[in-house]
C-alpha cells in the first residue's frame, strides 16, 4: 500500500517548480507573485473580447438565416415556425416524415410546458431525463450561434443533458430572439450584472448530429449521440 496522497504538498511542489522555472529566466521579479496575481485578477475581471468574426455581425433576420444555413451544412435539418402554438404540429410532421412514432421526451422547460400539446392528440409527451429507450428527444436551447450554426443547451431539470445524447433523434427548439452572431454573446448571458459567470453543470454547444471519421477517415453520422438533429426556430 502506498502512502496516501498529500494534495497540499503536491500543489505547493508543482506551483513551486513553476515559479522556479519562470524566475530562472528573469520573468518573475516578484517572489510572492503579487504583481502576477494582480495581472491575472485584472484580466479575469475585464474579460477582454478576442477577435470576433465579422460574418456574424448582421441584422436579426440574416442572423437566423445564417444560423439555419450553417446548421444544414453540418447535416442538421431545420424548420422555422411563427410561434410556439405551431410547435406540436411541426414536431408531429417531422416524426411522420421520418417514420418515427408519435412520442417524444422533454424536460420541464417552461416554454415547452406552456405549449398546448393537445393540438396534436396523437403526440405522446414524456417528461424527465432519458434512460436511452426514447427514440426522439426535444430540448429547448439557451440560444443559437449564427457563425457556425451551433445550438447552445444548458443542463438542468428544464432540459436534461441525457436528452441531448441518448435518443437517436434530437429536436432542438430555439427562439429566433436567442440567436446571436457569435459564441461570446451566448456565453455572456451566463454572467450576472457583476460579470460573474453562473455556469450550468453542463453547457452543450451542439453543431450537427454525432459523427465519427475513425474508420479510414470517412465521416459517418450517428456515432454515439443522435443520428439526426432537427432544429426548429420559433419566431
Amino acid at each position: 500500500m502506498s502512502k496516501p496522497h498529500d494534495n497540499k504538498a503536491a500543489k505547493s511542489a508543482i506551483l513551486g517548480k513553476i515559479r522556479r522555472s519562470l524566475s530562472a529566466v528573469g520573468a518573475v521579479a516578484d517572489p510572492n507573485r503579487e504583481t502576477a496575481r494582480a495581472e491575472v485578477l485584472e484580466r479575469l475581471a475585464s474579460k477582454p473580447l478576442g477577435i470576433v468574426p465579422k460574418r456574424g455581425e448582421v441584422g436579426a433576420y440574416e442572423k437566423v438565416a445564417m444560423f439555419m444555413d450553417y446548421a444544414e451544412r453540418v447535416s442538421s435539418t431545420t424548420a422555422r415556425i411563427a410561434s410556439y402554438d405551431e410547435l406540436p404540429g411541426a414536431i408531429a410532421d417531422y416524426l411522420r416524415a421520418h417514420n418515427l412514432p408519435q412520442s417524444i421526451i422533454t424536460g420541464s422547460d417552461p416554454r415547452l410546458a406552456a405549449v398546448n400539446w393537445q393540438s396534436e392528440p396523437q403526440l405522446e409527451r414524456k417528461i424527465g431525463p432519458s434512460d436511452g429507450s426514447d427514440l426522439v428527444g426535444v430540448n429547448h436551447a439557451l440560444g443559437g450561434v449564427a457563425e457556425t450554426g451551433t445550438a447552445v443547451l444548458a443542463s438542468g431539470p428544464d432540459n436534461p443533458t441525457t436528452i441531448n445524447f441518448l435518443p437517436e433523434n434530437h429536436i432542438i427548439v430555439v427562439h429566433a430572439d436567442d440567436i446571436a452572431g457569435n459564441y461570446e454573446s451566448i456565453h455572456d448571458r451566463l454572467r450576472d450584472l457583476g460579470g460573474k459567470a453562473h455556469m450550468p453543470r453542463a453547457l452543450n454547444m451542439i453543431t450537427g448530429p454525432s459523427r465519427s471519421g475513425d474508420i479510414e477517415q470517412k465521416i459517418m453520422l450517428g456515432a454515439h449521440g443522435p443520428r439526426a438533429v432537427h432544429v426548429i426556430v420559433v419566431g
Binding site: P4, H5, N7, A10, K11, I14, L15, K17, I18, R19, S21, L22, R33, A36, V40, R43, L44, K47, L49, G50, I51, V52, P53, V74, P129, G132, T148, T150, S155, G156, P157, P160, T161, T162, F165, L166, Y183, E184, L190, A197, M199, P200, R201, A202, L203, N204, I206, T207, G208, S210, S212, D214, I215, E216, Q217, M220, G222, A223, H224, G225
Partner: protein, 481 residues
C-alpha cells in the same frame, strides 16, 4: 507502454515495408489537408486569431501558477475537487483511490492523451478495474492491444478490414454470420456494444481540451458524443488534464474554439463542445454525483523558461502531424511513445529524455510545414534544432556523425575552401555517375539510396548556377532569393 523511441530507425524501416499500413496512411493526406485549407480560407480572421491564440497562451504560461490557483478556487466553489499530481504514477494512484472510495469496478473513458502518458488503463486493470475506451478509434485500438498512432485519429493506421476482423474476434456474443462489409455497420455495432458500457460504468473519465479559470470549468471538444455519455451517465466524473490547459475566460475559450476544429479536422466547429462545471446540482435530473479534476505536471513545469516553453502552447489539434511528410511515410507507432509527428518529436524528449528520444528530432527534413499550419504558431523546426544541439552537446549521437558534422563545420566556416571543394566534388560526382544519370549507391548515404536513387549532379554547384542566372538576368529582377 513500452518506449520504443530508441528503435525509431528499425520501427520506420518496418513501417515503410508494411503495405497495409502504407495504404491506411494515405488517408492522412487525403482526409485532413484539403479540408483544413478550405475551413481556413472560409474565415478571414483566421491568421489574426492564430496570433491572438499564441499571445493568450504565452500570457497564461507566464502566470501559470496563479491561473491554476484561481482555477482551483472556482472548481472547489462549484462542488468539485482538484487533485495535484507531480508524476504520472501519482496521477494513476489518485484515480485509483477515487475509484476505490466509491467501490467502482467498471469505467468508461473518453479520449485522453495524458491517460496514455500515464499508462492509466494498465494500472487500473492491475487493480481489477474493467476499463472501456469509448471513442471509436480508441475502442478499436484497445481491442487490438495497441496504442494511438495519431493524437486525434488514434486508429488511422488500421484498415476497415482489420476493424471487421477485430470486431468478429471481440464481439463473440453476436451472430457470426452478420454482415460487416460496410463501415456504417461497424459503427452501428460499436455504438450498440458501447451503449451498454456507459450505463454500467461506475466512473467516467475524460480528458480536457481547456480548463477555464473564470468559471472553474473543464471543456471537451468531440464529434462522437462519447465523452458526453461517459461523463453524464457515470456516478463519478474524473477529468484528466495537464497543467498547461488552463486559460483565463470564456471569451478566451471562444478564440481557441475557432482555431481548434479548423486546424484539426477542417470543420468550422466540432459537433460537441461541452463546458462542465462541478457535479450534479440538487435539482438536476441527470449528471455525475462527483466531479474530480486531476492536474498532471509530469515534467511540464520544468519546460517553462527553457527553449521548449513554447511547446506548452500546443492545443493538440494534430495539424502538424497531418502535414508532416515523415509522419505520412512512417506513421505514428514508429515514434515509439505517446505523441507522434513534429509535436511529438519536440515533446517526447522533454518528457522521457533526449537520451531515449534523440532519433525523433533528427527524423525531420525541417521543411517547416508543421510551423506553417500550427494554430499556436509554435516554432517546431527551431525546437527540433534545439534538441539536435542538446544531443550533440551531450555526446549522444554516434561518432561518425559527430566527425561528419565537425568536418562540415570546418568547411562551412571557410567559404572559399568550401566553394572550391564543392566545385571539385560536383565534377567528380558527374564523372563517377553511371549512364542512367542516377546514383544507385552513395558512399556514407546507404540508408538514403537503399530506398531511392540520387540524381547525379550535372557538374556545377547551386552557387555557380545561381551566379550564372543572376548574371544572365542582368540583375534586373533584383536579388530576391
Amino acid at each position: 507502454m513500452e518506449i520504443t523511441s530508441p528503435d525509431f530507425k528499425k520501427n520506420a524501416s518496418e513501417a515503410l515495408a508494411d503495405t497495409t499500413l502504407q495504404r491506411a496512411l494515405k488517408n492522412v493526406e487525403l482526409g485532413f489537408i484539403g479540408k483544413r485549407q478550405d475551413a481556413v480560407d472560409a474565415l478571414p480572421e483566421f491568421e489574426a486569431l492564430r496570433d491572438l491564440g499564441r499571445d493568450i497562451k504565452t500570457h497564461c504560461l507566464k502566470h501559470l501558477d496563479v491561473y491554476l490557483d484561481e482555477y482551483e478556487k472556482k472548481v472547489t466553489a462549484s462542488g468539485g475537487h482538484v487533485h495535484w499530481a507531480e508524476t504520472a504514477q501519482d496521477a494513476c494512484e489518485i484515480v485509483r483511490d477515487i475509484c476505490r472510495s466509491v467501490g467502482a469496478r467498471t469505467m468508461t473513458k473518453g479520449k485522453s492523451m495524458i491517460s496514455e502518458e500515464m499508462q492509466l488503463n494498465a494500472f487500473l486493470e492491475k487493480d481489477g478495474m474493467e476499463v472501456t475506451e469509448t471513442d471509436l478509434g480508441e475502442y478499436i485500438i484497445q481491442l487490438r492491444g495497441e496504442h494511438p498512432s495519431h493524437i486525434i485519429a488514434p486508429a488511422v493506421h488500421v484498415t476497415k478490414e482489420q476493424v471487421e476482423a477485430d470486431f468478429r474476434r471481440a464481439h463473440t456474443q453476436l451472430d457470426p454470420n452478420r454482415n460487416l462489409d460496410d463501415p456504417v455497420s461497424l459503427l452501428g455495432e460499436a455504438r450498440a456494444v458501447l451503449r451498454e458500457k456507459y450505463f454500467a460504468a461506475d466512473v467516467g473519465i475524460t480528458g480536457a481540451n481547456f480548463l477555464v479559470a473564470e468559471s472553474g470549468s473543464s471543456v471537451i471538444v468531440t464529434n462522437e458524443g462519447n465523452g458526453d455519455l461517459t461523463q453524464t451517465l457515470s456516478r463519478v466524473h474524473i477529468v484528466l488534464a495537464s497543467i498547461e490547459k488552463v486559460i483565463p475566460t470564456l471569451n478566451d475559450l471562444d478564440v481557441f474554439l475557432r482555431l481548434l476544429a479548423r486546424s484539426a479536422t477542417g470543420q468550422e466547429q466540432s459537433v460537441y463542445t461541452t463546458i462542465s462545471t462541478g457535479p450534479r446540482r440538487a435539482e438536476d435530473p441527470d449528471g455525475p454525483e462527483q466531479y474530480h479534476v486531476v492536474l498532471l505536471d509530469n515534467g511540464r513545469s520544468e519546460m517553462l523558461g527553457t527553449d521548449f516553453e513554447e511547446m506548452l502552447r500546443c492545443i493538440r489539434c494534430g495539424a502538424c502531424i497531418n502535414h508532416c511528410p515523415v509522419y505520412h511515410a512512417v506513421g505514428g507507432h514508429s515514434y515509439g511513445w505517446v505523441y507522434p509527428g513534429p509535436m511529438g518529436s519536440v515533446l517526447t524528449p522533454s518528457l522521457i529524455g533526449v537520451d531515449k528520444a534523440g532519433h525523433l528530432p533528427n527524423a525531420s527534413t525541417l521543411c517547416g510545414r508543421c510551423e506553417s499550419v500550427c494554430p499556436m504558431r509554435i516554432p517546431l523546426p527551431k525546437m527540433l534544432r534545439h534538441w539536435r544541439e542538446r544531443e550533440y552537446e551531450r555526446h549522444l549521437n554516434p561518432t561518425p556523425q559527430r566527425w561528419g558534422l565537425k568536418g562540415w563545420a570546418y568547411f562551412a566556416r571557410r567559404p572559399r575552401l568550401y566553394h572550391q571543394t564543392m566545385r571539385f566534388g560536383m565534377r567528380l560526382m558527374k564523372y563517377l555517375a553511371p549512364q542512367t544519370a542516377l546514383m544507385r549507391r552513395l558512399p556514407a548515404a546507404g540508408g538514403w539510396t537503399k530506398h531511392r536513387e540520387f540524381p547525379a549532379p550535372e557538374g556545377k554547384t547551386f552557387q555557380q548556377l545561381w551566379a550564372e542566372r543572376q548574371a544572365s538576368n542582368g540583375q534586373t529582377k533584383g536579388d530576391a532569393a
